[in-house]
Amino acid sequence: MHRFDEMHLEANAGLRAHYQNYADWLSRQQAESMQAHRIEAEMIFRKVGITFAVYGEKDEDGSGTERLIPFDLIPRIIPAHEWHSLQRGLIQRVTALNKFLHDVYHDQEILKAGVIPTEQVTNNSQFRPEMMGVNVPSDIYSHISGIDIVRAPNAQGEGEYYVLEDNLRVPSGVSYMLEDRKMMMRLFPELFRSYSVAPVAHYPDLLLETLRNASPQDVEQPTVVVLTPGMFNSAYFEHAFLAQQMGLELVEGQDLFVKDAYVYMRTTRGPKRIDVIYRRVDDDFLDPSVFLANSTLGCSGLMEAYKAGHVAVCNAIGTGVADDKSIYPFVPKMIEFYLGEKPILNNVPTYTCRNADDLKYTLANLPDLVVKQVHGAGGYGMLVGPASTQAEIAAFREALLANPSNYVAQPTLSLSTCPTYVESGVAPRHIDLRPFVLSGKTVQMVPGGLTRVALKEGSLVVNSSQGGGTKDTWVLESDRS
C-alpha cells in the first residue's frame, strides 16, 4: 500500500519543495529549545483557558474535566496551487449543498428526478418536516460549513484530496485554527519572515459579516447573538471566544423568550429584540414546544418566530439532512444536478449498508473497511477494520446486522501523515483538514482550516475526544518559497 507524507517524498527521496525551508530551520533547532517551546505553549493554552470538557469524565472532586487539546509545533503546509483547487472545490460543493437543502424543503426536484431515492431523504431522522415551505433569507441554509478533507495516495502514489464528511450543523474547531496560528507566531516569529503564510485572523470578521447578512429584517444594525448550551458544553471555549471576537452577546436558552413571534433577550435594561441567532445548539434542543420537550437549552416559540421570518437561525434548522452519511454518497450527483458541473473534489467510495449488495460487500470485507454510523459524530461508535481485533470486529458485525441501514462503510484510506512531536521524538502521524466555508452574499473562507492529527501511532482517528491533537495550517501565498 502506498503512503503519503506531507513533508517527505517516498522512499527517502528527500523533501517536498514547500517544506525545504522549514526542514532546514528545524534541523538547526536544539531539541531542548523545542521542548521548552512545547512546555511554553501548553502553559499559555492553560492560562488562556483554551480547554474542552470531556463528556462523562469527572475530576476527583466531581467537577467536569477541562482538558487541553494537544498542540503540535510542526505546521502542516499547503502549497498555493493545491489550496486554489481545494478552494474552488469547496465553493462548488457548499453551493450545491445549500441548493439541495432549499430544494428538499421546497419543490424536491432532485427527488422527482430520481437522483436520490425519496424515502432516503424524507424518512431520514435529520429531515425536519417543520421546515417544508419555510423561506430563509437568500435561500442559504448552511452559513457555516466544516468540510472534512483528507489526503490519501492514489494508485500512482500521488496525494489526492478527498472529502470525508460534510459538517453542516454546528461544526466546531475554528477557534483552535485561530489560536494555533497565534501561538505559532508567538513561538516562532522568525519562521513567518521566511515563509509568506496566508493570514487567517480575519475569520471572525467574515463570520460576523455572514451573520449580519443573514438578518431577515431590513434593519441597519441587526442584533446578532451567539447561542451556547452553556459552560459545560465541550466547545464552550469556542462559543465564548467567537462571541467576544465579534463583539456579540453570548446567550443561553434561559436568556431568551418569545413574545408575539419575536425573539427577545433579557437585559439589564429590559427586553431586547434579536434578529440573528448564531446557534451552537443542535436542532433537537432549540425549541421545546416543537422538538425535544424537555430541552432547557433552547427557547419555547423560537420555531414560530423563525417561520414568521422574524429571526434568522444560523445554520438553519434541518441542515442535518444534507450532511448525513447516508446522503454523502449523493453529493457528487447533487453538484451535477444543480450546477451542471463536474465535481472538483473527490468523494470517498461509500457502501450504504441499507442496500443489500453493499451490505454483503461490507460484511465480507469488515477487516479492511471503516464502518460508521449514519448519524454518528466525534469518532464515537465506528469500526476501523485494520486496527481492530477479531473480537471487536465480531461484536461490530452483530451491531451492523441488527440495523444495517444505520451504517455506511468506506475503504480504509491511508491518510497522509505529517511529522509530529511524540514522546520518542519526531514521527509521522495521520492528519486531516477542516476548512470552514462561509455562505452569505458570496461563498468565502480563510485560507486553510484546522488540521487535526491522530497522536497515537498508526491511528486514523483524529477527533479530540479520541486523543487527537491540532497543528497550525499554513497555506502559502505563492508556490515559490
Binding site: 459552560m231 467576544q244 452577546e249
Partner: protein
C-alpha cells in the same frame, strides 16, 4: 447587557473581594494570636471571627474544638465551606468563565491564573507553615484583578456591575471586621483597665488598622495616639478612606446611577439614603446609640440593597 451576564460579573467581583477580606480578617487574627495571651482569650478571638461570618454553627458541626489551625483550615482550604478562600476563588473563576467573552483577555487570564495558582498554594503546600505569605498572595491577586479591571475594561455597564459587586462586598466586610473586634474588646478588655490591658489595646487597634491597610493612614489623618472611637470614625465615616463604609457606599451609589434608569429608582433611593446617613453621621452619635447596633443595621441595609440590585437588574424577569 444580558441580565445573566451582569449577575456573573457582579458575583465574580464579590467573590474576589470576599476572598481578599477573608484573608485580611484571618491575617489580623493570626497576628493577634502571636501576642502573649491566655488560651481562652485566643480562642475567643477565633470564635468571634467565625460568628461574625455567621459560620459558627457550621464550623461546630465539622470540628470539635476552636483552634487556630482548625479555623484556618476551615476558612482557607475547606471546600465544603462556601466562604473559605478556596471556595471564593473557585466561585470567582467559575463566574468569570461563564462570561469570559465579556471580560478583556487580560482580566480573564488574571482570574484563571489566580485559580490555577490557588490550587497549588492551598493544596500542594502546607499553608499553615506560613499563613501570612498565603494571605499576602490572596490580597495581591485581588489587587491585580481590580487593577486589570480598571486598566482594561471599557467603562460601560459591565464594569459598573463589577464595581457594584466589589464595593457592596467590601462595605459589608469592613463592617463585620470592625464589629468583631469591638465585640472582642468590649468583652475582654473594657471595664477593668489595668496597665497591661491598655498596652494590649494598642495592639488590638493597630492590628485592625493594619488589616485594612490603614495604620499609616490613621497616623496621617489624626497625628495622635490610637483611640477606638477614631478608628471607628476612620473605618465608618471617612469618605477618603478607601475601605470605609462611607467610601464604599459612595461607589455603590455612583455605579448605580450608571446602570439604572428612572424606572428603577428603588435601589438608588435605598443606597442614597444609606449614603446620607454615613455622610452626615457623627461618631459620637454612633457610639452613644451603640456601635454594634449601628453596624448590625448597616449590614441589614446593605443586604437589602444587594437583593434590590438583584431583583432590578440581575434576575431574568
Amino acid at each position: 447587557m444580558l441580565s445573566r451576564t451582569a449577575d456573573h460579573l457582579f458575583w465574580m467581583s464579590r467573590y474576589t473581594e470576599r476572598a481578599e477580606n477573608t484573608a485580611r480578617m484571618l491575617d489580623v487574627s493570626y497576628q493577634m494570636s502571636l501576642l502573649p495571651q491566655s488560651a481562652p482569650v485566643a480562642q475567643m478571638g477565633w470564635q468571634g471571627l467565625l460568628s461574625i461570618c455567621e459560620l459558627l454553627p457550621f464550623y461546630k458541626s465539622k470540628y470539635n474544638e476552636v483552634t487556630a489551625a482548625n479555623v484556618m483550615r476551615f476558612m482557607v482550604s475547606d471546600e465544603s465551606n462556601p466562604s473559605s478562600i478556596i471556595s471564593c476563588l473557585r466561585s470567582a473563576r467559575e463566574n468569570a468563565r461563564a462570561v469570559r467573552g465579556s471580560l478583556t483577555t487580560e482580566l480573564w487570564e488574571t482570574q484563571n491564573q489566580t485559580w490555577l495558582e490557588a490550587q497549588r498554594h492551598i493544596h500542594a503546600h502546607n499553608f499553615l507553615d506560613d499563613p501570612a505569605k498565603l494571605f499576602e498572595w490572596v490580597k495581591f491577586r485581588s489587587h491585580l484583578s481590580r487593577g486589570v479591571t480598571i486598566g482594561t475594561m471599557l467603562k460601560d455597564e459591565a464594569r459598573s456591575f463589577m464595581r457594584l459587586g466589589t464595593y457592596l462586598e467590601r462595605g459589608d466586610n469592613t463592617a463585620r471586621l470592625v464589629d468583631v473586634k469591638y465585640k472582642a474588646i468590649e468583652s475582654d478588655f473594657f471595664g477593668e483597665a489595668n496597665g497591661k490591658d491598655q498596652e494590649y489595646d494598642f495592639y488590638h487597634w493597630s492590628a485592625i488598622l493594619r488589616s485594612v491597610s490603614a495604620f499609616e493612614i490613621y497616623r496621617k489623618v489624626y497625628r495622635d495616639v490610637i483611640r477606638p472611637d477614631r478608628v471607628a470614625e476612620l473605618l465608618i465615616l471617612r469618605s477618603d478612606m478607601p475601605r470605609s463604609l462611607h467610601a464604599c457606599m459612595e461607589e455603590v451609589v455612583s455605579n448605580l446611577s450608571i446602570v439604572s434608569d428612572n424606572l428603577r429608582s428603588g435601589t438608588q433611593h435605598k443606597a442614597g439614603k444609606l449614603l446620607s446617613e454615613l455622610k452626615f453621621g457623627q461618631i459620637e452619635e454612633i457610639m452613644d446609640t451603640g456601635l454594634h447596633a449601628f453596624l448590625t443595621q448597616y449590614l441589614d441595609k446593605v443586604n437589602v440593597i444587594g437583593e434590590s440590585i438583584s431583583a432590578d437588574f440581575l434576575v431574568a424577569s
